[in-house]
Symmetry: C2
């Protein structure tokens, strides 16, 4: 690593200059007017890979092209797949940007530009680290594959299909993704778990029109009452979900994981203030972080029925509907839960109404075992670059593309965020700490060495 370190130091300005080049390409995937910019950004990435000695190709899709790269084969060494994306979010509202979004500039130690942290800046750290190895050592200590897409901000439709059809080509020992955040400023993190999701809409149809609640009330099932009973029956007073078998496949938290979460600098009072509630509540027996990261949930996302205007209108509404979602944790199967959910909804329905359940979308959760050797390798690399051991965290949200990669390729997935949660991703004045950019490159270079030892 000594030569690699020297190379990184000597080429710091060059890395920044190249990042600025890519940031100047307005590769907004949501806007068809930017199709040419998208193509240019993809080509830039492919050329960059080729320039450092990684064989690359631009693969057309029904949507925006995928850039794929593969380093020269190192026999007997592990293979890492780096996932990232070269497309960016739209820039509206433009008038809130202090500097133009596609004219990157440094202010107070931060790079300001659309895509600075999400994901051009973070993604390129894994390219520059390989460049350093190849230039300084003449070789990589392991095999690298790059999968850099142009549709992450619009749903990764082409990628899912591509991954499913190219599992041999993409085969790897672990997956590395840097498209997220550290736990807190100065505190790096490895995100070892993501929750999955299943979403439904429940519609309860009662009478064929709104009825007068005086003339008919009491004799006809009120669909909003029926809906409330279904929804209420899905969760108990202890916050336990009542879908049969719901918890059967849940991977329980280990004592080590619970201890690690408990040790994180998380303040319950601050959290309550942050979200504006007088109390937290959830599944009995778990802390707020455990509930957010490692336990499955039931939420109602929307309710609609009958009269919603001012004052009273005394009707029995003809129908009532709810949008609901479950966050799943690793090992829960979206398909099994879909089935069990439909059964219990049917069972909870009162007589005299017709209940329909429409499935909307689903994705499984993801978990990297804390005792994975790749987690240990990442931990060493992060501590080396950031001067502090990373904390192990999970993310309560769902990142379908990561779940897809994890599931299709069956490899441990390391979510190594170099960003901060105030980097303004998806907002005006997106930014990326210069120090995080360089520490990211350094951590990545060290990561290749550590993974090579696994």
């Amino acid at each position: 690593m000594a030569g690699v370190e020297t190379y990184l130091e000597e080429h710091a300005d060059g890395f920044l200059k190249e990042l600025f080049e890519l940031l100047r390409i307005p590769s907004v995937s949501a806007d068809p007017a930017h199709a040419g910019d998208i193509a240019a950004a993809g080509q830039w990435v492919a050329d960059k890979l080729a320039g450092i000695g990684v064989k690359s190709e631009v693969i057309p899709t029904k949507g925006h092209p995928i850039v794929y790269g593969e380093s020269e084969r190192v026999e007997g060494a592990p293979t890492v797949l780096v996932y990232g994306h070269y497309d960016v979010q739209p820039v509206d509202p433009l008038d809130q940007w202090l500097s133009p979004p596609f004219e990157p500039e440094i202010r107070e130690g931060r790079i300001y530009a659309r895509g600075a942290t999400d994901d051009k800046g973070q993604m390129l750290t894994h390219v520059f680290s390989a460049q350093a190895w190849l230039a300084a050592e003449g070789r990589l200590p392991l095999n690298l594959k790059y999968l850099i897409e142009g549709e992450e901000e619009v749903g990764s439709a082409a990628l899912s299909e591509f991954v499913a059809e190219n599992t041999d080509k993409l085969a790897c020992d672990c997956i590395v993704v840097s498209d997220c955040c550290q736990f807190a400023p100065g505190q790096p993190a490895i995100t070892c778990g993501l929750r999955g999701i299943v979403c439904f809409e429940i519609t309860v149809q009662g009478p064929d029109r709104d009825l007068h609640s005086g003339s008919f009330g009491g004799s006809v099932t009120n669909p909003a009452v029926a809906l409330s009973r279904i929804l209420s029956g899905l969760i108990d007073d202890n916050g336990r979900i009542q879908v049969p078998g719901f918890y059967d496949d849940v991977v329980p938290l280990t004592e080590l994981e619970r201890k690690q979460m408990a040790d994180l600098p998380f303040d319950e009072k601050e959290y309550m203030e942050q979200v504006g509630v007088s109390d937290t509540w959830g599944e009995a027996g778990f802390t707020s972080l455990e509930r957010r990261w490692a336990r499955p949930t039931f939420d109602i996302n929307g309710l609609t029925s009958g009269y919603q205007g001012a004052g009273a209108k005394t009707i029995i509404p003809d129908r009532a509907s709810a949008k609901v979602s479950f966050r799943l944790v690793p090992n829960q199967s979206p398909e099994a839960i879909d089935k069990a959910f439909r059964e219990i909804v049917e069972k909870l329905a009162l007589p005299g109404v017709k209940v329909e359940v429409q499935g909307m979308h689903g994705a499984p959760g993801m978990l990297v075992p804390l005792d994975s050797p790749y987690v240990a390798a990442s931990s060493k690399a992060l501590e080396y670059a950031f001067g502090r051991a990373p904390v192990m965290t999970r993310e309560g949200g769902s990142i379908p593309v990561v779940a897809t990669l994890h599931e299709e390729l069956g490899a441990d997935t390391l979510l190594l965020g170099w960003g901060q949660d105030d980097d303004n991703t998806h907002s005006p004045n997106e930014r990326f700490l210069l120090a995080d950019f360089y520490r990211g490159i350094q951590a990545s270079a060290k990561l290749w060495e550590e993974i090579a030892k696994v």
Copy 2:
């Protein structure tokens, strides 16, 4: 009654001509442009009463005037208060009327005009019957008071106040109202009960903004979940309302009432088709008619929360609200139920949310005992005029003005409808069967005789 009968026969055309006169006055209470017509209609009624020998006055109010009339005192005889209204509903959509709404005409045995049945035609039956008695017999067999308002279609605001402030003036033995329907064509009815009502809006406030259900789900009370649990906790699987003490004051149905309801020509299958449901449902142990007429209910009238558009949006909504109403039966107190309702809602709330209950409006139920001598008198009068004994029914809806009269004056209230349920009240082509108009006058004339015997 022989002289009265003869008079009724000989003056049939005159009654119709006079009804037409009143129908030609477009006394639409909702439209300020018709204020002059409202005044003219009120004056017409007062003049008509005076013309038959009933002392009358037009009493100004903050809204439209009340017409009050009092017949010459008959010592020792009972006193009946006739309630009715001279205002009518708006006529929109005008283009659906086959003949102009204020140019009454007869087609196929029916009087077509706005107000024909609601309530000018029905109300005048009680004036023409008195006219016949006074002209043919020179006297009434009892004391009549007339309370004819001009704001029934816009909420009777002035009347409630007037009644409360004039209970001595309006003191009576029973109240007669003809502003409703027979049970079925050819089957007259006496409506002996009305349900009361209390309405609320429940608002559950959670976090101070919508939250991402991935990042926060599980740790924060979802206000829509909390609302569902409250709503669901208000009623059990047997359709029994769970508000503490809710049934304590309910007047139970007598065996006679249950038998009479069971004997009515009511077909459960036809009813299901009429309202478009596959099954009826309600409080266990009661029939559909009992549930509609004589048992209290809980209904959700509207639900609102979070995302209501197409597809999924995985949020924890910041709030959820429901509009709910209870229909009450005689003896339940809206005030007591208001109090018990607020307590149970508070008790059913999950931690971490703020629940607010806003009361909207309330009115008690009303019940005339089936063994009331006035019911028996009405029954004889109806059988005399319609050739068939009336059935005893109840109305599931609430008519606040009737409840007010009943409560303030403490008198039995006879709801004697001469109309049919397809008379198009409040709709284009309002109509009133000529035969029902004349039978109504005859029944009314007989009613004065029968009540005089009580």
